[in-house]
Amino acid sequence: MNADLEKLQETNKTELERRGSIFNIGAPATEAVTTRDQIAVGFGDGTVRFFQSGSDPKTVKAHKGVVLSMTNYEDHVLTGGDDGRFLKISSDGNIEEIFNFGSKWVDCVASHKDTKVCSSGKTVYIWTKNKDKQQTLEHQSTVAGLAFDNKGKRLAVSRYGGVTVWKLNNNKWTASNYTWKGSHGTVTFSPDTKYIVTAMQENQIHGWRINDKADLAMSGYPSKIKSFTWVGDTPYLVTSGSSDAVCWPFDGKEGPMGRKPIVVANGGKELATFVKALNGEKAVFTGFTDGSVLLAEIDESKKPIMIRSSTGAEVSTIAISSDNSQILIGDMKGSILLSSLWADN
């Protein structure tokens, strides 16, 4: 660990920890998403808790076991659980069961405007507002990731052997396959929708340029990549999985092909486990295996700022409120830090 970071750690508490609130929930924080004025967090005890500055979180007993997946949906959140339930939850505690898959887990969820999507096993289920019955999309192996493009016209489904990109035309979904050997997990579209990228079971990420299916193999990580986030106008795809936040440039015609990533936010011997963009800035929050979080600009000459000191439990989620005023950090032991990002708040 470099000397600056050690110095920062010696002061025990960071500025954000001093002015923020710490909640010990006692179950791993699995997912966090931002709704209009709150941050919703799913936990390993099946609860979803809605956090807002200045008040205690509101707890909704949602699932029997683990909240496996979560996304925002209008003013609500959609959750999938290991109790087989796909739920729509509001912060006042109202739970609507969209579907019950019984003993099958609901592994992934996604939404776009009034469309609700989840996966259970090899099947993706889609509900749209004007249709009573859900549509289904079948795949050759278990679905491991779901992502809409920004227009909601394409849905990327990651699985063993690659990604199926479904395109919606005249109410019909048609499939296009992007193949690469190995098992693909979380998937994302680049903001300009020119690329799709997956985190693999191996220690690497894989991307495809959508129009010609050109492959981008990004490897060299010492561990699995559990998290990525798009940062800035370039944009950079910032990833966890290394002792730094690894930032791949996706500008120009070729994106990161043949280029080296920028590395920022060095965690010393700790590995990055979660990354989250600071909206509107060329900066990223990086959470590490020891629970610490750094804020760094995508600029190797700038020093990172310590946001949260070590808790001993790996950072599993970070969310920023929709007005960019609050940050929430959660870890695998269920400790939550909610704090204002700016000193004036």
């Binding site: 003993s103 690469w180 098992s183 079971q201």
Partner: protein, 338 residues
């Protein structure tokens, strides 16, 4: 852990002191052997422990319990150039989900279908870092039907592999078989796998603590093998029969020589070596080293000091096909320190 110690390719050192790893028992056996009876016992008996059970959807049971997880057996090839590296993709996903639970599990039991090769399931615990960090393969338990095992061994090579892979074998339904036939089937099992613990049961009525949570693959058993079975058996009928070999040395081994020999052996012959295990006495090392392998992959680590009053002898065992053509004895002898 020793700096630079032991063989470092294709294996990850396991921290046997790390109690936060949840033990996982792999349960194999043919349809009808009694796996469901055992699973029902695990789920319903008042044992005061929390066990999660991962069942296959093609299995025979309709067990309804919060801690039962349905799985498809999805065997995935890794994209790492190792031809042997097939893993259970569904298992990686489910184990990672179970590790997010607020309540801690005492053990996890994974059921596999009768016709499934046990290797991918075992390899998942060697290959996937997240799985290896949070769980450990405790034992492979095979439920065998005392009535039908002999014919299954003739008709299905999967039956032979399930016996070969096992650390514990429940020889079930013994009440339906004459005593001398039990001896015969017992001997047949011993020919394939002399090292597994055989428990004769009626309705899988063995104590659960002899099946689940055995800790470290019951490696100590390697030292307690009945000598009768250590004689290499050369009268098998087919070249692809599964056999076993074991070697003992009272002379301490040279660690570098052993690493070279064993690493190369697994790399080149790993496909035919179903299981390898051993306890090793290295020259200049105070601690015992233990290892266990499945095909080309293995775990190795020091396991504390030698028990007082016990001989510091090294022993390695192999279960596999075509073992006679691997120069195992010569290779092992060459590892003795000068």
């Amino acid at each position: 852990m020793h700096e630079g110690g032991f063989y470092r390719t294709n294996y990850k050192e396991i921290d046997m002191e790390n109690t936060s790893q949840v033990p996982v028992t792999v349960l194999t056996g043919f349809l009808g052997a009694g796996k469901t009876t055992l699973l029902n016992r695990i789920l319903t008996e008042q044992h005061g422990r929390k066990y999660a059970v991962i069942v296959n959807e093609f299995g025979e049971q309709g067990i309804d319990n919060d801690l039962v997880v349905d799985a498809d057996e999805e065997v995935f090839e890794m994209n790492n150039g190792c031809i042997c590296c097939t893993v259970r993709g569904d298992l990686i996903r489910i184990l990672s989900g179970l590790m997010k639970r607020a309540d801690k599990l005492d053990a996890i039991i994974v059921e596999t279908t009768g016709l499934a090769d046990p290797a991918p399931v075992a390899q998942t615990f060697f290959v996937d870092q997240d799985v290896a960090d949070r769980t450990k393969l405790d034992a492979i338990v095979t439920v065998a039907d005392a009535v039908h095992l002999s014919s299954q061994l003739v008709d299905h090579h999967e039956a032979e592999e399930q016996i070969a892979f096992a650390d514990v074998i429940l020889l079930n339904k013994v009440e339906l078989v004459e005593d001398n036939d039990i001896v015969k089937v017992n001997d047949r099992i011993r020919k394939i796998n002399p090292f597994a613990k055989i428990i004769k049961t009626t309705r899988c009525d063995a104590p659960l603590d002899e099946i689940v949570g055995l800790n470290a693959f019951s490696l100590d058993r390697v030292l307690d093998i009945e000598p009768d079975f250590l004689e290499s058996d050369h009268d098998h009928e087919h070249d692809d029969d599964v056999t076993s070999l074991s070697f003992v040395s009272d002379t301490p081994l040279d660690m570098d020589k052993f690493q070279d020999w064993f690493g190369n052996l697994l790399r080149t012959k790993g496909q035919d070596i179903l299981r390898s295990k051993g306890i090793l006495n290295f020259k200049g090392e105070e601690e015992r080293y233990v290892f266990q392998g499945v095909h080309m992959l293995m775990d190795a680590s020091p396991m504390g000091p030698w028990p007082k009053g016990k001989n510091r002898s090294s022993r390695v065992v192999f279960i596999g096909r075509d073992l006679d053509n691997m120069n195992l004895k010569e290779g092992f002898e060459n590892c003795k320190s000068a």
